[in-house]
């Protein structure tokens, strides 16, 4: 089951062609060579043991890192050749990111954290605040709007992180072990949130060790081993 891509008739939000990443020019690649396509509205779970290249794949798709070989196209734009400035612009307009340890800025309030990516794009403050309010209501965290992240529970923090990731209505939501730092209840909470987002049509790439999470949230799952695609299945097949 190494079928590399989804059907070509669908619109692909992510297209990786012959992508490889080496950190050491003499050693084996940390990832690839790899071909991968993710369709719009698809929720892809990326699983694999530690060091299998999951985070590297996520970094390449997010434009946080550049491939040593191959091309990376996201939302119709080839991003492996973009300048740092253009990558930053692309990222803030088209990609939302959720991290395992939330990566909220401790000295900003919940509302300010959520508004930050919108403000970086130059969105007017009132508009950014309105969008943040909308998301806080959607994610049931509006009561924490003026609180600082340090006072929130793990689940609440991750909800804030998801709200922040969605504030610019990104084409692609990348989630790196989003429940990895949460207790069971909070993990369930976040899992439900991601399922809702996927149902709403949000394209998601989810990196996780948690097969249950992958099963619950993803419509497709790939399994990486030593940087190579070992398995590519729809979740229905897994089930």
């Amino acid at each position: 089951m190494t079928s590399p891509t989804s059907p070509t008739t669908t619109t692909h939000v992510i297209e990786l062609a012959g992508v490889a990443k080496r950190y050491d020019s003499a050693g084996a690649p940390a990832l690839g060579p790899l071909d991968l396509a993710v369709a719009q509205g698809e929720a892809l779970a990326v699983t694999g043991p530690s060091g299998s290249g999951k985070s590297t794949l996520l970094n390449l798709v997010a434009g946080l890192d550049r491939p040593t070989e191959g091309t990376v196209t996201v939302d119709g734009r080839r991003i492996d050749r973009l300048s740092e400035h253009a990558l930053a612009r692309f990222r803030r307009e088209r990609i939302g990111m959720v991290f395992q340890f939330f990566n909220l800025l401790d000295d900003l309030t919940v509302a300010d954290n959520i508004q930050l990516p919108a403000q970086l794009t130059g969105t007017a403050r009132r508009q950014a605040a309105a969008r943040a309010g909308e998301l806080m209501e959607l994610l049931a965290i509006q009561k924490h709007a003026r609180a600082y992240p340090g006072r929130l529970s793990g689940g609440e923090r991750q909800r804030v992180a998801v709200a922040r990731a969605l504030v610019n209505r990104p084409a692609l939501l990348l989630a790196d072990e989003p429940t990895g730092a949460l207790d069971t209840a909070s993990g369930q909470d976040v899992r439900d949130l991601l399922v809702d987002l996927h149902r709403g049509g949000q394209t998601i790439v989810l990196v996780t060790h948690d097969l249950a999470l992958a099963e619950a949230c993803a419509s497709r799952s790939i399994h990486l081993v030593d940087g190579h695609l070992a398995l590519d299945t729809t979740v229905e097949a897994v089930r």
Partner: protein
């Protein structure tokens, strides 16, 4: 300790130093600059301590310099004066004459006392060569630093006079005589050859006395010397007390300036070293937690971190001492010129004190946060690097977020409030840098104003000598204070006046000379002033003398008869005020003159008064001071006019720009160098703080970049994080620099024995103050530019992994 012997500790220290190379380098460089500036500042402060006394003692300077008529006293008789009671050592006799050199551009220098000595070294007045070598053959001359100024270097040439057949002399050395026994030296044969009827050779003897603390003791020695030689043989003497007074006055002007810079330099060094080291240790708490978790005792942690701070700081201290000594060389050379001393070096104990103090500051600065880290519970220490911060500065983020500025900028603006101590240290560094820049700019502006105000006579393009009694032209030692030279004996070195001419005919020639733009007449006369013992010097002016007016501290320049302008010292000494009258007697005729102005006159310590020549019928202009029309060559003008008036007994010289005050150039150069150094140290302090801050915030910056913050926005964020500090530093530093200038300048004026006019004190205008205010911002931004670039270039993925 059993599990972690020195080997384990050593490895921890080495890895701590090696892993954070950028921070290690920044600590070393910041400490190096701070220590270098402390060495320079300390050296200058030491040099400013009694410079004349030290140089005079080192050179075994002459307590009494005497000139004898060689026709009346033989060499043997002069040598025998060394056995006079109270004389402990002698040098001489040396032949002495006076020359009025002409520089390469045809400009005339002031008259120069030229002594003939076959070697620099002597039992008394053991000269120090600061440059070059001693004159060995005819055609060679050694100048004092004061005469050489900026115009004459080794190899420069000058002619001994403007006579067609005057020999050319090559400058082969620059020497220093603390006791100022002469202005220049050549071989004895050269001096004899340069003598003329008007400037005959006299014999100079230099004496050390067993008691020379007071004028009375000097006068007593002089009496004994007078008695030891044939009557009339002793032409004049110069007491070292007069030289000391003049030298101390000159040096005193610069002492407050050097001390101000010294204190600034040392204070800033302490702040920078302290903040750099404590910041470096304070940001390593997580690593300290890990060390404790694996079994390091608190004491070992403290030792490891103090050692870790000492390694780069120690390297910085070592390099800083070397750099400080190197930087001090040109500054001490400048100081030598200001003080008229030689061989100023960095005192060894300055190096030692700076090293010990720096090590202490580094040790304490490292110890305090290391002790705090050592006392932290292990779990807390580990959590410090990862747990949400304490909440400091959150209010600032809330407030900054409301500003109508880009979010990256407002985020940066609030950043300093998270680390109040680090911010305070950075603020102090910027403020000190701004104080230095403000003070230096004010000082150089003031000194420029002093130079422009001083010696107005030298501002004229051409000096025309009428041949009548003119300004006293002295050479050689002045008579000792309190000594009564018989009137019959001319002062040594006083030029015989040339054949008397008719000033009216010279004036007519000046008026008729094409190229004359304006002129005024001037003469100087000895007068007596009611209430003042002894004589005073009067400068008397004819015609419109506004171009030769002194800067006025109060009142106005003389505008007609019956008026007198006096220096501050005169008012102080006589207890008079503006509007009072004084009785001035010249050649038996007494005039009552009203004091209409207080002049800014730093020329010497005499009580010189300025009045209208018309009030003194017995006086005639000795010189006419001429401004030439634009485009007219002063040298050519003087040559043509001289040809007209020499048959009348007059003469004309173009004034040499080389006679401009070298002190101004030196002090300006010193101020510029010291300011550059202090501003660099301030910038390094900022650099270090921003490096620490950037390193500490690298994860947050990574998050921002992952969310889409562009490199330009990242640079904007980091620069904004210091912008507020820069602005505040400017707002604090400019008034403090202004106040320092306002405090130091009058102290310098007091040392020079004068009040200061507004043109010297009020040197800051609004645009200049605004620009200086921006200096703080510039220092801060320059210091932050490098780490801002690093932050922008840092790989986001790596930053996100950073704990």
């Amino acid at each position: 300790m059993s599990g972690f012997g020195t080997g384990a500790l050593g490895r921890v220290v080495r890895s701590g130093v090696g892993r954070r190379r950028v921070q290690t380098v920044v600590i070393a460089v910041a400490v190096m600059m701070a220590v270098a500036s402390a060495v320079v500042a300390g050296s200058l402060m030491v040099a400013a301590d009694a410079p004349f006394d030290k140089a005079f003692a080192r050179q075994n300077g002459a307590h009494l310099t005497a000139e004898y008529d060689p026709a009346k006293a033989s060499t043997a008789q002069l040598e025998a004066t060394g056995r006079v009671d109270g004389v402990t050592a002698t040098a001489g006799p040396y032949p002495v004459t006076s020359i009025r050199p002409v520089d390469g551009g045809g400009g005339h220098l002031r008259p120069v006392t030229l002594a003939g000595r076959s070697a620099a070294h002597a039992d008394v007045d053991d000269l120090e060569l600061s440059l070059g070598r001693w004159a060995e053959k005819p055609g060679e001359i050694v100048l004092t630093t004061q005469v050489a100024g900026p115009a004459f270097q080794l190899g420069s040439t000058l002619r001994s006079s403007d006579a067609a057949d005057a020999p050319t002399l090559t400058v082969v050395g620059i020497a220093v005589s603390a006791g100022r026994s002469a202005d220049a030296w050549a071989t004895p044969a050269q001096v004899t050859a340069l003598a003329s009827k008007d400037t005959p050779v006299t014999s100079q003897m230099l004496y050390r006395l067993d008691s020379a603390d007071t004028g009375g003791q000097i006068a007593a020695a002089r009496k004994k010397l007078t008695a030891a030689v044939p009557q009339g043989a002793l032409l004049g003497t110069q007491s070292y007390l007069d030289t000391k007074r003049a030298a101390d006055t000159s040096a005193a002007v610069t002492i407050p300036f050097l001390i101000a810079f010294g204190v600034l330099g040392i204070a800033m060094s302490l702040i920078i070293v302290g903040s750099v080291v404590s910041g470096a240790v304070g940001t390593s708490l997580r690593r300290i937690g890990i060390l404790k978790a694996i079994g390091f005792t608190p004491r070992e942690v403290v030792r490891a971190y103090v050692a870790q701070a000492l390694i780069p700081a120690g390297a910085g201290i070592a390099l800083g001492v070397v750099l400080g000594n190197l930087l001090a060389v040109p500054l001490l050379n400048d100081t030598e010129q200001v003080y008229g001393t030689a061989s100023l070096t960095v005192a060894w104990w300055v190096d030692v004190v700076v090293v010990v103090a720096a090590l202490l500051v580094v040790g304490i600065a490292a110890l305090v946060p290391a002790l705090r880290a050592g006392r932290l519970r292990t779990v807390e220490a580990i959590a410090v690097g990862r747990a949400p911060r304490t909440g400091r500065g959150q209010w600032a983020h809330r407030a900054a977020g409301r500003l109508p500025l880009p979010r990256a900028v407002t985020y940066g603006l609030a950043a300093p409030f998270a680390h109040p101590v680090r911010t305070a240290a950075m603020l102090l560094a910027v403020a000190f840098g701004t104080v230095a820049a403000t003070f230096a700019l004010g000082l150089t502006s003031s000194l420029t104003a002093v130079a422009e105000a001083g010696d107005p006579e030298s501002r004229a393009a051409v000096t025309v000598f009428t041949g009548a009694d003119g300004p006293t032209v002295t050479r050689g030692p002045a008579p000792a204070a309190g000594t009564a030279e018989p009137p019959a004996a001319p002062e040594p070195g006083t030029a015989e006046p040339p054949a008397a001419a008719d000033p009216a005919r010279v004036r007519a020639a000046v008026e008729a000379q094409p190229g004359t733009a304006s002129y005024y007449g001037k003469t100087q006369a000895d007068v007596t002033v009611g209430g003042v013992s002894g004589t005073a010097r009067a400068s008397l002016y004819e015609g419109d003398s506004r171009s030769g007016a002194y800067e006025m501290i109060s009142g106005h320049w003389i505008t007609g008869r019956g008026q007198v302008v006096v220096p501050s010292r005169f008012l102080e000494k006589t207890g008079t005020e503006l509007g009072d009258t004084v009785r001035v007697t010249h050649q038996g005729r007494t005039q009552t003159l009203r004091i209409v102005g207080e002049a800014f006159d730093t020329s010497d310590d005499e009580l010189e008064i300025h009045a209208d020549l018309a009030d003194f019928p017995a006086a005639a202009p000795g010189v006419f001071l001429v401004e030439v029309k634009p485009g007219v060559s002063a040298t050519e003008y003087a040559r043509e006019l001289a040809a007209e008036i020499q048959p009348l007994g007059g003469d004309a010289h173009a004034n040499s720009p080389s006679e401009q005050d070298g002190l101004l150039l030196i002090v300006q150069a010193m101020a510029a160098l010291l300011t550059l150094m202090l501003v660099s140290v301030a910038g390094l302090g900022v650099l270090n703080s921003v490096v620490l801050d950037t390193r500490e915030r690298v994860h947050d910056l990574g998050v921002c970049k992952a969310l889409g913050m562009s490199p330009r926005q990242t640079v904007g964020l980091v620069l904004a994080s210091v912008a507020g500090i820069g602005v505040l530093g400017g707002l604090v530093g400019v008034p403090a620099g202004f106040a320092l200038h306002a405090y130091v300048l009058p102290v310098m004026g007091d040392a020079a024995g004068t009040d200061l006019p507004p043109s010297v004190l009020d040197v800051y205008d609004t645009p200049r103050l605004v620009l200086l205010g921006l200096a703080g911002l510039t220092i801060a931004l320059l210091g932050a530019l490098l780490p801002a670039g690093w932050a922008a270039r840092a790989r986001t993925a790596t930053a996100l992994r950073t704990e």
